[in-house]
Subunit: 426 residues, 2 copies
């Protein structure tokens, strides 16, 4: 029975039943963390062989440079070749960074603020800088722009990506809008892949600001949960077709391919963008960890092998996503108190509770020992106007722990929903 | 005979002899690079054992965190403990970064520009920001401040460190002066270690700007070339004594201890400074490479072991420094056409030619196949007002190649000096 159709008596009885279950859970003293999209131990083990690639004592990159020493600011040639396949750019359109694509994004925004982009005024010299933020989105993106004092404007996500009518209108009208955060494939947290039309409309944007950039964080480009993944359209290629190739900065990493703490992050962009950024990069670092670059290239050998490697990840984590969706389908769907995505890749299930319930659900879970991503985190400034979105990160816990956490989660959803509906009756 | 005492005829004859030698060198088609302070291959081999520390399959830090995964933003506990000894701070006064202390410095300056320091106005909002730059100094420091549009003021180095009378006067008078670049031990390029008095005067500075910071790049803190190294005074401890502990940011790294491309960089500062920077750090990265942190700690075990390890470096590179100094002593000293330092540590010999000769010497060497650090690089904006300073980096070449390069160098010095003295006669 749909919870909204219950009368007060039924609701009270429902709430009491759920509360008893909840209290039972509390006494179990659980301690589970589902706050972040962390790979689990079994996933980490998949790449341990990478640590042996130097057993032969050969530390030379293909151009003869000793990867242990300084040099090769923007990456060794074989890493450029290897990773350009991953993010869909040419070998001369890529910079290889350290272990963090977030750090690469932060640095790029910082360059725009302190130096400006391709001859335009540094953003720090402008009265106002605005970014479009498809919501729900990735909290760490929003924190970067918040750090720099950027005004963030929410843009709703649709099943095919951000609301492009709104994006096109806003960027064409307002020169203060300098960027947009995008996770184009298996978006964080919705798991939405941008449609071909959405990618084309991005590639064809005509922003009022010449230094507008699409921050295209393709974090999950090879992180499929199905056997027949549909690749998204290549935005740089589409942008080149219309002479708009400077509009996009593309990011990717192996944080969820090899090791989250010790992967390789990369950035792709037009030659003009890369040339400018390479110049700035030489000010902020001498070189990144080339040993780790070569570790990756030697371990995988080919991009095809890395794609095969991702299937091992899928085998470990797809059952966890299935458990989330089947549990919600069984426990929440009949009650009409929540909606969620069934992602075909990426790291999250995005759950929308009844309006005004997300914070309460996260609180209930926390008090019973399960840490979820903070409610509101998926919105700029941490403010979800409907207080409804919760990001579920199922990869880290064991399937047993995940089952328990989900049991608590659905009880908490039920509890908070009953509370809300009862409050509305008073 | 001192070159300045020669008459025109003698000088012409001297120059012709030297020119013939120089042309002979040119025909050898040398290709040697002494531009940067790169360790040589034998030095890199000293740390290869570090790559085996995970052979036991144990990836847990002492607090139970899997170093392969996300987390531990400011470093694993054992790395904090280990490296705090290296830079002379407490475990809660340190942040462990990635592979580059330059990157940590760039990032810190960037934070000051975009967020401000401990509640003060962000530097990007000020009309003018100035830095004091002891000269000659490290070109990459100057490039960082140049990137941010900082006005750099030269401060002469003395045998005991920067001219402290000048430093004290300037910082007390001018609120726009926000920082100073220091390499306190075995300074780059002079190899000068700051005296106790200099360190104390730094610790006791009373700058007009509350957000003035000493950027204390202790890059060579354990990089001794003698058997009886004299440690410099601990600036943070001295500053604490007078309630001035927020005045200094301390940096260090293992770039020249293990691998230049894959070492560990650290920063030490007062708790207040570290707390603020840790907060900012969490915006720009999720975590640095903790596997590499643990590699270092496991490989060395104790700080004392790392100091022993440095003696192996000394054994490899001290003969190279000796060769530089003995060659200059033999070939240049009698002619009175140059002065140089005899460093007790660090990576460079600083050579001062006759005024107006440095660019010409570097050019002559380059045309005969030996690349030196560009003349002027040791000064802000690349401008050596006397055009006399040349940084010699002897560590990378083999002793044989270094011998050849030095032979060319002294010929070039003689050639350029004779040219100059002859030109002055006309």
């Amino acid at each position: 029975m749909n919870l909204s159709e219950m009368n007060k008596e039924q609701l009270i009885s429902f709430k009491n039943e759920v509360e008893a279950l909840y209290n039972g859970f509390k006494s179990q003293s659980l301690s589970l963390n589902m706050a972040r999209g962390n790979p689990c131990k079994e996933q980490l083990e998949l790449s341990v062989g990478m640590l042996d690639v130097f057993d032969d004592g050969n530390f030379l990159s293909e151009n003869g440079v000793d990867v242990r020493n300084y040099g090769m600011l923007d990456g060794i040639p074989e890493a450029k070749e290897f990773f350009s396949d991953m993010i869909g750019v040419q070998d001369d359109e890529i910079i290889i960074f350290g272990n963090s694509s977030l750090n690469a994004m932060f640095w790029t925004v910082q360059c725009a603020f302190n130096k400006g982009i391709l001859g335009n005024t540094p953003w720090s010299k402008l009265d106002k800088v605005k970014f479009l933020c498809p919501v729900p989105g990735y909290d760490r993106h929003f924190k970067v722009t918040e750090f720099f004092g950027v005004e963030m404007i929410n843009v709703p996500m649709t099943a095919s990506g951000p609301d492009m009518d709104m994006v096109e209108k806003l960027v064409s009208e307002d020169e203060a809008i300098k960027g947009i955060w995008c996770v184009p494939q298996y978006s964080n947290p919705d798991g939405i892949s941008y449609s071909d039309e959405t990618v084309r409309r991005f590639a064809n944007l005509k922003p009022a600001a010449k230094d507008f950039r699409i921050f295209w964080d393709n974090a999950y480009c090879i992180h499929h949960l199905t056997d027949d993944p549909k690749p998204i359209l290549n935005i740089l290629e589409e942008a080149k077709k219309v002479g708009n190739e400077n509009i996009v900065y593309i990011y990717g990493s192996t944080s969820k391919v090899t090791f989250p703490g010790a992967g390789v992050a990369v950035m792709g962009a037009s030659k003009a963008n890369v040339e400018e950024l390479r110049k700035y990069l030489g000010i902020s670092i001498i070189s990144y960890d080339k040993m780790n670059q070569l570790r990756h290239v030697k371990f995988f050998g080919t991009f095809a092998n890395m794609q095969e490697h991702m299937k091992k990840h899928k085998a470990i984590i797809a059952p966890k996503f299935d458990l989330v969706c089947s549990t919600l389908e069984k426990e929440i769907a009949p009650l009409g108190i929540g909606e969620w995505t069934e992602p075909k890749g990426g790291y999250f299930v995005s759950f929308n509770a009844l309006n005004g319930c997300a914070k309460r659900i996260v609180q209930l879970c926390a008090e019973a020992g399960v840490t979820l991503t903070g409610a509101g985190a998926t919105f700029p400034y941490g403010v979800d106007p409907d207080d409804k979105n919760i990001r579920i990160a199922p990869t880290y816990p064991s399937i047993e722990d995940l089952g328990k956490a989900l049991e608590l989660f659905v009880i908490s959803v039920k509890f908070a929903s009953a509370e809300k509906l009862l409050a509305e009756m008073n």
